[in-house]
Symmetry: C2
Subunit: 410 residues, 2 copies
């Protein structure tokens, strides 16, 4: 019997319980500051209080609680991940990392370390509601872009309004800053990809997070009657967009390690018998090397302009997000390597395609991440899963990582 | 000075006035049985009453009124078109034909013809709300498909519910049947295409309406994380749909006179960082020859299956509408030819790409249509226009067409 299997089952039960707190019945959809986030805060907050931690929600909507250290809270290790989800999500993306943070403290059974541990459940990582990801962890940098606070969702509600509607005060958002005491940020997260599964390994150490670019692209032509307008006289925005989407796919296939995705596409006016006048798309491009990513984006913008010019369309671009690749902190990566080896698992280092809160926290402290295998590589889907022995391995490694920190913080 | 220019300006003013009656402020959107349709009925009904006609709304929501003939109402000429619009429509599509019907009666100045004239403003032609066009004119065939009445819009409201919510009784829909007295249906409509404009002619006589097929197509793959899923392991529904849209365009270019359009496309889940799991599209294919159209649809379904198989996607098809090409009635076309020539305009016969209510009415009576030039070929757009001298020509031809009927109905 592996150690920590009971704790792993307990953590997975928690994740499934939280997955039922959703904006849509029967599926898990929980975007930034949506109503069910109150339920999640109440449930996890009660667990935190049982562990002797005082739970509070900062002005960016992040759930936070500190487990005191033997010598007070001056030096802190932060363990966290995010509590928001994509639409029709799985039960483990983000949430598992917060639950495992509490599971590690539960396993300490009241023992105090030479440093405090702050567990954070970030309010926003996926970028679904406002098209900009990491709103939760960005607040920990100490200043929030006023443009971001003014940004509106599809219903016209601004970030500032949403914070107020959740019962928080946007004027106090600067108080969410991480401050000086935190010496490291540690995040446990499902891989969300097929690498560990293909290697049959339970956990992996993140060496770096790939950089990513997100751009909104709009093709504009002329809406007109689908029956009366000969093909040669059309300026069909969707036909242009479709041609470009095929180019996006080809560009990614042509660059090793590059992924490029059009995940959103809306057509206007959007009737069967009208030639589309406008097509609005999102582009998401990622690579571990910034040069490769930046060049791919440049290529794709050029192709879009060429397609538009040839078809008599206009095309415009709006940069939503640009994140350079983020290496994890070498000292913490070494500690994780020792922890994994001590727990008896193979030491597997890897690049993360998805962005994570650790990427943002790298701006204010040292960061480290441990991935847990995603069976089938499935994530962002109700079929997303974890295996209990893998979660047990993560708890084992996590506790050994705390010991490594203990040895080095003494 | 051309005759009927004042009447033309009057008719155009009416169209612009009705265009303000909309579901969305600042644009014209008036779908089947939407609230602003009540306003349109009240305004046109008042005009009908001033002309001594009794206005009523049948159980399918069609506005109807009879101008009595000298010998009673036993024999009737029906003049009509539709009052619903596409989203963000122009002011003249459909509405102009109803307004011109009343303008012709106004020009009779109380004179009675040997037959009655029934003016009808159809409730539904565009197919926007329920995805099925011609719901209004279909009711005149005497029986309505119960499946159609059970069909639901995007809010889950059925056709039957919508009729009730508008204050009508769906059980009485069979009373909307045209009956035996009608000897012909005449429709005036904007061309909605560029043919008359390119020939610099004010009006054209429709010889036939092209057949059309409308099919809903769904590609299904697997939604997954856009950052973590290597290109080779993706089953991206939108990438497949995009490839197919390009094939639709190529198929149309390769068949003279064929038009093929994807006007709707919705992606699920629809987030920047998720590979699309589902793409739902509409396909609209039209041609004057049924064989050409049916073969094109068959080809495109074959291409969709091939694209889906190659990409590991599923594809499914749902036939929404299939209409064979409809020739206009030769006797009425001859009358229109004499009327156009007598008014001093060139006799231009043409095929209509768009479907029209006349296509449905052809199932119960003789039908004829006169097109009015669309400047720039623009329609289904706020830029849709007509020229006053062209509308005057249509009134002139319309009155001469009534005389032709008079001479032949005596």
């Amino acid at each position: 019997m592996r150690p920590y299997l009971a704790q792993a089952e307990h953590a997975m039960e928690w994740c499934r319980k939280l997955a039922a707190m959703s904006e849509e019945p029967g599926v898990t959809t929980r975007t930034f500051l949506s109503a069910p986030m109150h339920e999640v805060h109440a449930a996890l907050g009660a667990w935190m209080e049982r562990l002797g931690m005082r739970a509070n929600v900062d002005a960016a909507g992040n759930l936070r609680a500190v487990y005191a250290g033997a010598g007070g809270d001056a030096r802190r290790l932060v363990i966290g991940s995010h509590l928001d989800t994509v639409p029709r999500a799985g039960a483990f993306d983000g949430v598992l990392g917060v639950v495992l943070g509490l599971e590690l403290i539960e396993a300490l059974a009241g023992r105090r370390l030479p440093f405090a541990i702050e567990v954070i459940g970030f309010s926003e990582e996926e970028g679904v509601r406002f098209g900009v990801p990491f709103i939760g962890s960005r607040a920990l940098l100490g200043s929030v872009d006023p443009e971001l606070l003014a940004r509106r969702d599809l219903s016209g509600v601004s970030v500032r309004d949403a914070i107020r509607a959740f019962g928080l005060d946007p004027a106090r958002i600067s108080e969410a800053a991480l401050g000086d005491g935190a010496f490291a940020y540690f995040e446990l997260h499902i891989e969300q990809g097929p690498v560990l599964d293909s290697l049959d390994q339970p956990v992996g150490i993140v060496a770096a997070i790939a950089g990513q670019s997100r751009i909104d692209v709009v093709f504009e032509g002329e809406s007109n009657h689908a029956g009366a307008t000969p093909m040669k006289l059309r300026r069909d925005a969707l036909a242009g967009a479709a041609e470009w989407i095929s180019s996006v796919e080809r560009e990614a296939y042509g660059n090793d390690g590059l992924v490029a995705t059009v995940g959103r596409l809306a057509v206007e006016p959007g009737a069967t018998n009208i030639i589309p006048g406008t097509a609005r798309l999102s582009l998401d491009v990622r690579h571990a090397e910034d040069d490769v990513r930046v060049q791919a984006v440049r290529d794709l913008m050029g192709v879009a302009r060429e397609v538009a010019a040839r078809r008599g369309l206009r095309v415009s671009f709006d940069d939503q997000f640009d994140q350079t690749a983020t290496p994890m902190s070498p000292g913490l990566v070494e500690k994780l390597e020792r922890a994994v080896a001590a727990a008896g698992y193979p030491v597997q280092k890897m690049v993360s395609g998805p962005g994570h809160d650790a990427m943002i926290l790298a701006g204010v402290t040292d960061v480290a991440m441990l991935f847990v295998r995603s069976p089938g590589g499935v994530s962002h889907s109700p079929q997303e899963a974890v295996l209990a022995p893998d979660v047990a391995a993560a708890i084992d490694v996590g506790l050994r990582f705390l010991s490594e920190c203990e040895a080095n913080c003494a």
